[in-house]
């Protein structure tokens, strides 16, 4: 998963993440690739298309 520069750390992605794999820090989003199931819900939910799947 790649977080691009559109991101403003709002955390909408973390809210829908069923695997609790997204850590929203103050100016950084960290996605735990081991927990991530690549379901894509975060990609869809992001209001500004800031998450891309490789």
């Amino acid at each position: 998963m790649i977080v691009n520069n559109n991101c403003l750390y709002c955390g909408a992605c973390a809210g829908v993440c069923v695997a609790d794999a997204i850590d929203v820090q103050e100016l950084k989003i960290v996605i735990d690739e081991e927990k991530c199931t690549k379901c894509g819900l975060c990609v869809k939910t992001c209001p500004v298309a800031a998450i891309e799947m490789e």
Binding site: L8, G11, A12, A14, G15, D20, E26, T45
Partner: protein, 394 residues
């Protein structure tokens, strides 16, 4: 560093701060932590709040955090038919004031501090573990690791709602209930009436609506919420399109952008566990119809703070003893939400033509006072399915 406290509140939004204030007022030692450098910023919200809701909680309006008073609402259908309702005609939820959240949230945190709560900013919870008699919240305070030993944690960590999940509660938002929201604060709007909040419905915002909340003569929050089960486009594309086409916004300039997820699925069932209560957005305290959550976040925070402080007093932090919080919030908030949820489902079932028909019918009638009954009658006249979907509500 190790810290001991009775209650740790994670997140200093309105719900967390009021929980901290009430718990401190009721005699508990309280620590309120927030990951941000500035409480209240950036906002993730349209800033509408109900006047009476604040009064009920003893929060006195302060001109420092009221950007503007709103006197009513304008509902706009897809063919641009406007239905104007003023506050004397209908009880509009989450309306009355448009806040300056950056000031309001800090004001609420300051109130918590004045009641005796300690506050740590730039302190981000990273882990939760249980001990024999409580919990340890591990947090990162700038570069330092802090271990907070508490008897009770109040999770007020917003739509991400991770603290509750760490404690084993099922409190993440289902994808089909998460409004994807984005908003600009803009200047240079040309509003027909800059004292009312405006809501635009239909395909302009699939699964939600577009809003204009005035904050000044030519200043407003212009935003959108969409359900991603209803559209493939990102929310921001829908919003940019709206701004380009709406005569009130097409010459306005953005000075700020905000975004966020808005959990509109109603209250989560598991909002307490042993040693934990979940408040605000983290527990789904958002009006399912309007998406507004400040009032109910505050109310949930107040109940949680009091129930938690009582539990500290009695020495029993079990889920069973915290159940009073669930009862209070079910009775005072949850029951109303069930109706709003039905109304929302009905709204989402209407296509652009049906929305237009309803707006035309509204305009035709001169309504002095709208009761749920007259509203239902009008809706049934236009679309009989209203009876099916809404009939049992009133």
């Amino acid at each position: 560093m190790d810290i001991d406290t009775d209650i740790v509140v994670v997140g200093a939004g309105p719900g967390g701060s009021l929980a901290a204030r009430e718990a401190a007022k009721h005699g508990a030692n309280v620590l309120l932590i927030d990951k941000k450098a500035e409480i209240g910023s950036p906002k993730r919200c349209a800033e509408g709040v109900s006047k009476s809701g604040l009064e009920e909680l003893g929060i006195n309006p302060d001109p420092r955090w009221i950007a503007r008073k709103s006197t009513g609402v304008r509902l706009v259908s897809p063919d641009q038919t406007s239905v104007w309702l003023d506050e004397d005609t209908i009880d509009i939820p989450e309306s009355g004031y448009v806040l300056e959240r950056k000031v309001f949230d800090k004001h609420m945190a300051m109130d918590a501090a004045r009641a005796g709560a300690k506050i740590m900013i730039r302190t981000r919870a990273t882990a939760f573990e249980r001990t024999d008699d409580g919990v340890i919240i591990t947090a990162e305070r700038m570069q330092e690791e802090v271990k907070i030993h508490a008897k009770i944690v109040i999770a007020a960590d917003g739509p991400e709602s991770r603290v509750g999940r760490w404690a084993g509660l099922d409190c993440n938002t289902k994808f089909n209930n998460m409004e994807s929201c984005v908003q600009y604060e803009m200047a240079g709007l040309e509003m027909e009436n800059n004292n009312v909040i405006q809501l635009y419905f239909g395909s302009v915002a699939p699964g939600g609506y577009t809003w204009i909340f005035p904050k000044g003569d030519d200043i407003a929050n212009v935003g959108i919420g969409v359900l991603k089960t209803h559209t493939d486009k990102p929310a921001i594309e829908h919003l940019n399109e709206f701004i380009k086409n709406c005569p009130e916004t097409q010459n306005a300039q953005a000075v700020e952008i905000n975004m966020g997820g808005d959990p509109v699925g109603g209250l989560i069932k598991e909002r307490v566990g042993d040693n934990i209560l979940v408040v605000g957005d983290a527990a789904g305290f958002v009006n399912p119809l309007t998406g507004g959550g400040i009032n109910s976040a505050l109310e949930s925070g107040a109940y949680a703070g009091i129930v938690a402080a009582d539990a500290i007093d009695s020495g029993d932090y079990s889920a069973k003893n915290l159940q009073e919080y669930v009862k209070l919030t079910d009775e005072n908030i949850g029951e109303g939400y069930d109706k709003y949820k039905k109304a929302k489902e009905y709204l989402l079932s209407l296509n652009d033509d049906e929305l237009n028909d309803i707006a035309h019918e509204f305009v035709k009638q001169e309504v002095d006072e709208i009761s749920p009954k007259t509203l239902l009658k009008l809706l049934i006249k236009v679309s009989p399915k209203a009876l099916l979907k809404l009939g049992k509500l009133f």
